[in-house]
């Protein structure tokens, strides 16, 4: 039942949004077509704006992977990670995720390309990316904007949230897709 609900959600979420948002917009007298085009233009700029960051990250990740250094690091941590049931190939993503949005985008792309987007590990990586956020970046931006220097316990709370998202993704994907 639980699996059915999440499957329904996955299938319905996007069609529902594509139907209801323009409908609500229309009834609220928004020029839906022109507004869509205006927003889509911003999407274009966003995709282009992240390109330099993505290049920097993918070059570095690619070198690290191709040299064998990535496999070496994963290999060192493998026994510990496997003892806890964590796929070792996801470990770099867990470390990168709170620090850099583009970096984790790059690592996820790596995983999707080498294992396939529909493999269990590919689905796990996608779920991790979708259910966590760049905690350190958010703390820097939000607190930096108002001149708060002592984040107190919020760093711990944010990282705990990321950790829960990481472990939770592995467990939930095993249950749903494993």
């Amino acid at each position: 039942m639980f699996a059915d609900i999440t499957e329904e959600l996955s299938q319905l979420a996007i069609p529902a949004i594509l139907l209801f948002i323009p409908l609500i917009g229309y009834f609220r007298k928004v020029k839906v077509y022109e507004t869509f085009v205006e927003g889509a233009g911003e999407g274009f700029h966003t995709a282009i704006r992240i390109m330099p960051f993505l290049i920097a990250m993918l070059v570095a990740i690619n070198i690290f992977r191709a040299s064998g250094a990535m496999d070496f690091c994963i290999g060192v941590a493998r026994p510990v990670l496997e003892a806890f049931g964590i796929p070792p190939d996801l470990a770099p993503l867990a470390i990168m995720r709170p620090i850099s949005g583009t970096g984790s985008l790059g690592l996820t792309t790596e995983i999707l390309n080498s294992f396939g987007p529909d493999s269990l590990i590919g689905k796990m990586a996608s779920t991790i990316l979708g259910s966590t956020d760049t905690t350190l970046y958010i703390i820097t931006v939000y607190f930096g904007a108002v001149g708060v220097f002592k984040p107190r316990y919020s760093l711990f709370v944010g990282l705990l949230g990321d950790f829960t998202g990481f472990i939770g993704s592995i467990i939930v994907c095993r249950m749903l897709f494993g």
């Binding site: 999440t6 959600l9 979420a13 996007i14 948002i21 917009g25 609220r28 928004v30 507004t35 085009v37 927003g39 889509a40 233009g41 999407g43 274009f44 995709a47 282009i48 992240i50 993505l54 993918l58 070059v59 570095a60 990740i61 690619n62 070198i63 992977r65 191709a66 040299s67 064998g68 250094a69 620090i99 970096g103 996820t108 999707l112 390309n113 987007p117 529909d118 996608s126 779920t127 979708g130 259910s131 905690t135 958010i138 703390i139 939000y142 108002v146 708060v148 107190r152 316990y153 919020s154 711990f156 709370v157 944010g158 949230g161 990321d162 829960t164 998202g165 994907c173 749903l176 897709f177």
Partner: protein
């Protein structure tokens, strides 16, 4: 921090390759990395445009306000230190609603606005107030209904069902948000209580 990591990946990879007599793979990897980044950015454009177009309609139609009205009572419960009528409350509700709708770009200015309002209530200006920590717990777990970027990424990688992970994502991020809020509550009331106003 990100500078150190980037350098570590670059230098670590090149030196490791040199030690293992594989220095020839570095050039190849660098060039193909740069090329695949460009290809990926272009593949992301379509879904990004589609999503931000729809979200622009949502923004103009006041959907964020509708979501905000629904979430309001729940969020007020989470911020006992903010007076109900204070402008900070409105900003917090808008931030959380925008995050939920996946409006990353719209959410950041709203979040900063909420922080500025909260700073006015903060008695100790250089250290985070309780309400600030709770807001951060909500934002850093990033509860999003539809993770558009990931769907785009999966589709670019040739997935047969790119949106398959949406249900899992909602479930996991909801759990992570609850865990972060619980930890925030424990820290706020048990571990680091500040003297009441």
């Amino acid at each position: 921090m990100i500078n150190a990591i980037w350098l570590a990946l670059m230098a670590g990879g090149i030196i490791y390759a040199a030690i293992n007599n594989k220095i020839d793979v570095v050039t190849q990897a660098a060039i193909s990395g740069a090329e695949s980044a460009v290809l990926l950015s272009f593949k992301l454009i379509g879904v990004m445009c589609l999503w931000l177009g729809i979200m622009k309609i949502a923004e103009k139609a006041g959907v964020i306000r509708l979501v905000a009205r629904a979430l309001g009572p729940l969020i007020r419960l989470l911020f006992p230190s903010v007076p109900p009528g204070h402008p900070a409350m409105g900003s917090i509700i808008m931030t959380v609603s925008a995050n939920m709708m996946g409006l990353g770009n719209a959410a950041t200015p709203l979040g900063i606005k909420a922080m500025q309002e909260l700073q006015k209530l903060n008695k100790n200006a250089d250290s985070a107030s309780e309400a600030m920590c709770t807001l951060l717990a909500l934002c850093t777990t990033g509860f999003t209904l539809v993770p558009a970027t990931i769907i785009a990424l999966r589709s670019a990688a040739g997935s047969i069902n790119p949106s398959e992970i949406v249900g899992a994502t909602i479930l996991v991020s909801l759990t992570a948000t609850c865990v972060a809020l619980a930890a925030d509550w424990v820290c706020r009331t048990l571990l680091y209580p500040r003297q009441r106003r």
